[in-house]
C-alpha cells in the first residue's frame, strides 16, 4: 500500500507574461496544507489557476515563487512518488492496456515480477480485468479513464493528482467513476488532489474543498466536508454544502463562475 504523502504549499505565486500584454497573476500567494491520506478538491472558474497549481505540484512547471513540499521535501521535477490523471486519458494508442500501465513502472527499480503484479493488481482495482491486451481505441471513454487512474496509481505514489479526470465523460459514466474514485481512495489510502468544475463531484469525494477565484488566481475559501462516506447526493446537508460552495464561487468569481459550476 502506498504511503500517503503530506503536501504543503506555501506562498506560491506564478506570473505569466505574453509579449505586448500586461503580466497575468496566474497564482497569487496560495497556501494549502494537504494532510496525509486526505482527499482535497480544488474548484473554481476557468482561469483561476487550479490546473496550473497541479502542474506545479506534478513538477511539469518549475517557474514559480514560494514553496511546494511533499513530506517536508521540496519537490523537484517529476517523480514516481507523484502520479497524475489528465482530463484526456492520455493512454498511448500503440500500447495495450497492461503495457500502458507498465510504462509508469519503467523506472520504478522493481523486479519484473513486482511490476507484473502491480500492473495486474491495479487493473483489477479499476475493474478492467480481462481487458489487459486491449488497445486504447477498443476501450470506452470511461474504461480509458479507469486505465489512466490505474496507471497513475501503479507506481504506488504518495499523492495522486486528478486534473478534471471526468470532465470529458457523459453524466452517467461520470457518476459511476465518482463512486469508483471514492472506493479506490479508501482502498489505497493515498493522498488525492482533484481539480474539477463539478461542485457536486467535489462534495461527493472530498474531505476538504478549496474554492479558487481568478484574476489573480487565489484561494478564497476552504471548506471541510465532514459527511460520512459513502455520501448521498440528495442528503440536505450535502445539498447545503453544495450551495455554500456555489455561493463562494459566485461571489468571488462573478457570473461566469456560477455558469461554469
Amino acid at each position: 500500500m502506498a504511503t500517503p504523502g503530506h503536501l504543503t504549499i506555501r506562498n506560491v505565486s506564478k506570473t505569466y507574461s505574453l509579449p505586448g500584454r500586461p503580466l497575468v497573476n496566474v497564482l497569487s500567494r496560495v497556501n494549502l496544507d494537504v494532510e496525509p491520506g486526505a482527499f482535497v478538491t480544488i474548484v473554481g472558474p476557468s482561469g483561476c489557476g487550479k490546473s496550473t497549481l497541479l502542474r506545479l505540484i506534478i513538477g511539469l512547471d518549475y517557474d514559480y515563487k514560494g514553496e511546494i513540499e511533499l513530506n517536508d521535501k521540496r519537490i523537484v521535477g517529476t517523480a514516481l512518488s507523484r502520479g497524475i490523471v489528465f482530463q484526456d486519458h492520455r493512454l498511448l494508442p500503440w500500447l495495450t492496456l497492461e503495457q500502458n500501465i507498465g510504462l509508469s513502472l519503467e523506472n520504478s527499480g522493481w523486479t519484473r515480477a513486482e511490476k507484473d503484479l502491480a500492473v495486474r493488481e491495479h487493473i483489477a482495482l479499476v475493474g478492467l480485468s480481462g481487458f489487459e491486451k486491449a488497445y486504447p481505441h477498443e476501450l470506452s471513454g470511461g474504461m480509458a479513464q479507469r486505465a489512466a487512474i490505474a496507471r497513475g496509481l501503479a507506481s504506488r505514489p504518495e499523492i495522486l493528482l486528478l486534473d478534471e479526470p471526468l470532465g470529458a465523460l457523459d453524466a452517467l459514466t461520470r457518476i459511476h467513476l465518482q463512486d469508483e474514485i471514492q472506493r479506490i481512495w479508501e482502498v489505497e489510502g493515498v493522498t488525492m488532489i482533484l481539480v474539477t468544475h463539478d461542485v457536486e463531484e467535489a462534495v461527493f469525494l472530498s474531505n476538504k474543498v478549496v474554492v479558487m477565484a481568478a484574476k489573480p488566481g487565489r484561494i478564497v475559501e476552504t471548506l471541510d466536508i465532514d459527511l460520512p462516506f459513502p455520501r448521498d447526493r440528495a442528503d440536505p446537508a450535502f445539498v447545503a454544502l453544495k450551495r455554500r460552495i456555489l455561493t463562494a464561487m459566485g461571489e468571488d468569481g462573478g457570473k461566469t463562475a456560477t455558469r461554469a459550476a
Binding site: D88, L95, E106, N107, G127, F131, A134, R183
Partner: protein, 283 residues
C-alpha cells in the same frame, strides 16, 4: 461494504455494455477471407476487349498481339530466353536500393527529427539534392560506377531516401506534446521516450512513406534499366521495342504491373501489421 459491491456491479455493467468492439481479432480474420472479387471485374473486361480486338483485327497484330500470343511469348522467354534472370536482376536492384535507401533515411530522419541541429546541418544540402531527379543523376553515376547494378542501386536508393527521410522527420516532429509531457511525468529517460513514445508515434507516417517508396523504386528500376545496362525487365522492354517484339514488350509490362501490385499489397499488409493498434485503420 454494500457500497463497494454496488460500484463493482456498476463497473461490471459498464464494462459489459460499453462498446468493446467485437473486431478485436478482425485484422487476422479479414486476411483469411475469400478475396473480394470486385477488383477482378475490370481486368476481365479489359482482357475480353483485348481478345475481341485481336480476333476481329481491329488493330494490327504488330502493335497489339492477341493475349494468347503474349502468353506464348512469356513461355518462350521463360524457357528459351533468360526472363527469370532478368526478372531477378530487377528485383535484386530494387530490393537492395529499397533497403539501403530506407535504412539511411530512417537513420538520418530519426536523427534530424530528434535534433534541430542535425536537421539544420543536412537541410539545405538535402533539399537541393532532392530536387535533382534520380534519372538526372544516372548519367553521372554511370560514368563513375559503370552500367552495372551499383549505379542503378545508388540512383534508386536516392529516390527511396527522400520520401522516407522527410516523413520520418515530420512524423517525429508531429508527436503530440501531451505524450512528451506524459513521458516526463512517468520519468522516462530520453532513450525510453524515443523507443516507447516518439518512434511508435511516428510509425504511421514512416509506414506510409515506405509503401510509397517501395512502389517508386519498382517503377524507377524499369527506367534505369532502360537507360543503361544489358539486363533486367527495363532493358527487355526497350530491346523489345527496338526489335518490334510487341508480344515480349507486353509480357514485360504485365510482369511489371503485377509485381508492382504485389509489392504494394505486401507493404500494405506490413503497414497493417505494424499499425494494428490504430483505430479505424480498416477504413
Amino acid at each position: 461494504m454494500s457500497h463497494t459491491s454496488d460500484t463493482i456491479e456498476a463497473a461490471a455493467v459498464e464494462a459489459a455494455t460499453v462498446d468493446l468492439p467485437a473486431h478485436a481479432e478482425a485484422p487476422g480474420r479479414r486476411g483469411l477471407q475469400l478475396p473480394n472479387l470486385t477488383g477482378f471485374i475490370l481486368p476481365f473486361i479489359i482482357l475480353v476487349l483485348w481478345q475481341t480486338a485481336a480476333t476481329y483485327k481491329w488493330i494490327d497484330p504488330v502493335f497489339l498481339p492477341a493475349p494468347l500470343t503474349v502468353v506464348t511469348a512469356f513461355w518462350k522467354m521463360l524457357t528459351k530466353q533468360k526472363l527469370a534472370f532478368d526478372f531477378l536482376a530487377s528485383i535484386n536492384i530494387v530490393g537492395q536500393a529499397f533497403i539501403y535507401g530506407s535504412a539511411a533515411a530512417l537513420l538520418l530522419g530519426i536523427a534530424a527529427g530528434l535534433s534541430r541541429k542535425v536537421e539544420e546541418f543536412f537541410g539545405p544540402t538535402f533539399d537541393t539534392i532532392r530536387h535533382i531527379p534520380g534519372i538526372a543523376w544516372l548519367p553521372l553515376i554511370v560514368l563513375w560506377l559503370g552500367i552495372g547494378a551499383p549505379a542503378k542501386i545508388l540512383v534508386i536508393a536516392k529516390s527511396v531516401f527522400f520520401p522516407v527521410f522527410l516523413n520520418t522527420l515530420q512524423g517525429i516532429r508531429n508527436v503530440e506534446k501531451n505524450y512528451i509531457e506524459l513521458a516526463k511525468v512517468l520519468t522516462l529517460t530520453r532513450w525510453q521516450l524515443i523507443r516507447k513514445v516518439i518512434l511508435p508515434a511516428a510509425m504511421p507516417s514512416i509506414m506510409v512513406s515506405l509503401r510509397y517508396a517501395a512502389g517508386l523504386a519498382w517503377a524507377l528500376v524499369v527506367v534505369a534499366e532502360g537507360l543503361s545496362g544489358l539486363e533486367g525487365l527495363g532493358f527487355l522492354i526497350f530491346r523489345a521495342q527496338g526489335l518490334l517484339l510487341t508480344d515480349q514488350l507486353l509480357v514485360c509490362m504485365v510482369i511489371i504491373g503485377l509485381v508492382g501490385f504485389a509489392i504494394d499489397r505486401s507493404m500494405f499488409l506490413a503497414q497493417k501489421r505494424v499499425l494494428k493498434w490504430k483505430q479505424g485503420y480498416d477504413g
